[in-house]
Amino acid sequence: MRKVLQVSNLGKIHGNGCPRCVASTGPDVGSNICPHCQSVVANAAISFDLHAGEILGIMGESGSGKSTIVKMLFFDEDPSLGEAIFYDNGHQWNLFSLNAAQQRRLRNHRFGIVYQNPHLGLNFNFSAGGNIAERLLMSDLTHYGQIRERARDLLTRTEVGSERMDESPKKFSGGMQQRVQIAKALSTSPPVLFLDEVTTGLDLSVQARILDLILEIQQELGTAMIAVTHDLGVIRLLADRTIVMKNGRIIEAGLTDQILEDPQHAYTQQLVASAL
């Protein structure tokens, strides 16, 4: 299997930090606040690989540090520790040693993200098509006709409907807004897509259709994805492999089936049991 992303020892500390932060926090002590300097260790010692075309699930309750991982990989937040290497068409990018312009380039061309909150991913002053246009323009496509065509295709594909292309997503339902976000993220055909709690807060039927769409995209385009969620159902449906997090650390990782059938860590056992 071809590796697209290799994350090693990634971590994020909010606050001043001290040499004892990492050793003094985590699931063993049941806290992510450093008792010595009061800094919050959002996560630490995060290592995993992402392979071409697979969906990797990251599961954990809120505050477990899972969302921060994708935010760092998408350059929304700067990491405090560790590194990540992106393998792309024979190139190797050491993500956090790139300059701002290089990072912006990867963000615009090679990565996509869908946020839980559509306000983060969409500009509500622009139409649905305009939001897709903005991302295409960021990636240097400046042909109006081609932009229109691509936006129309994507909105049809994500079942928003091309007839709603010139409306503001402000007027759309929550599920529809997520579809526009997905269309926008996919517009540059990125090899890697980050999904941050994309179905949280949506009706169950809407959730199911969004998840179907994501699976279709994965099969059609072979996009590798990292899906962050606290919802075991999402993991079960989407993820090939899964990472379980608690207090900012990975406590268990493996094939999704294996984790759901035979969880090793007591916390995972509890999660799986409570979902049944």
């Binding site: 912006r104 622009f126 246009a133 903005e134 400046t142 010139d166």
Partner: protein, 301 residues
């Protein structure tokens, strides 16, 4: 109060160019930087001038910092040498810069300060054009924070501005920006060319004359150096359109006074409701009339 204060009566005569020499030197340094980084908005410590912010204090500081004895100055506003603001600025420069000549002829001027227009007569490499700028940053329509705009400029990220143009075309089937059309300089920075009409944008491209922009209130100086690319921000498949002055039949209107059909026109509505057109550039119009052009010699005053 301390009785030893006195009014500075002995200082009623101001130094050459009004500004103190340190201030002028700082402005010149900012100009040099602006020329070195075409289109980059160079910050400078804009001084208060004795006319209102928005009346050309940025352009004026550039002019005063550059002008010397023997220089020949032209000041225009809306294309005209005799409009109130042009007169006001010219009188102030004459007052504070003895030994400087002024002219209304574009060809004679070595330094031209202008608001809202670039002269019709092509400029030459011995001339410097100073344009007055109310809003220096074209990104302000899509991003309010200056700190964020600075990053966008640095990275050459104009996608949000282009998205605004996209939305325009979607809604109006036209780009609705009438003047201050965002223009990319030398392939990187996009600048606000000051409120010149789209008609004048082409004059920025590969101009033999140095073109300087001064924003007094917003405290920025930027430049289009001679022979530098200046391209309006557009989509590949949608051409940039300047004001065309065509009538309903698609016929190019001409100046009622000098007959020019290649100049930017001012529109006048007459009492009977019909519109008439005359050159906005008064020097261009006068020179053409003097050379014997003109449709009708009926010039009332």
């Amino acid at each position: 109060m301390n009785p030893s204060y006195e009014l500075p009566r002995d200082e009623a005569g101001y130094s050459f160019g009004f500004l103190d020499e340190y201030a002028k030197r700082e402005v010149r340094r900012a100009i040099l930087k602006a020329i070195c980084i075409p289109g980059y908005q160079t910050p400078y410590a804009s001084r208060e001038m004795p006319m209102g912010r928005g009346f050309g204090t940025g352009g004026l500081q550039l002019t005063l910092s550059l002008i010397g004895r023997g220089e020949c100055l032209k000041v225009i506003d809306q294309g005209a040498d005799d409009s109130v603001n042009a007169v006001n600025l010219r009188q102030f420069i004459e007052l504070t810069c003895p030994g400087v000549d002024t002219t209304e002829h574009t060809g004679e001027a070595t330094l031209i300060q202008s608001r809202h227009r670039i002269p019709e007569q092509p400029l030459n490499s011995a001339q410097v054009l100073v344009l007055q700028v109310p809003y220096p940053d074209p990104l302000v329509v899509v991003e309010a924070s200056e700190a964020k705009r600075k990053i966008m400029h640095g990275e050459g990220d104009y996608s949000r501005l282009l998205t605004k143009l996209y939305e325009d075309i979607v809604r109006f089937a036209e780009i609705t920006i009438s003047h201050r059309y965002p223009t990319r300089i030398n392939g990187h920075y996009v600048l606000d060319p000051s409120p010149i009409p789209r008609f004048d944008i082409a004059k920025l491209d590969h101009s033999p004359a140095l073109i300087l922009f001064g924003a007094g209130r917003e405290k920025k100086i930027y430049a289009v150096p001679p022979h530098t690319r200046a391209e309006p921000l557009v989509f590949d498949d949608i051409p940039f359109r300047a004001e065309d002055f065509n009538d309903a039949q698609g016929q190019r209107r001409a100046c009622q006074r000098c007959g020019a059909s290649d100049s930017f026109l001012d529109e006048f509505s007459s009492a009977n409701g019909t519109a008439t057109f005359q050159c906005s550039d008064s020097d261009y119009c006068n020179q053409r009339v003097a050379a014997g052009n003109g449709v009708s010699c009926e010039v009332t005053s």
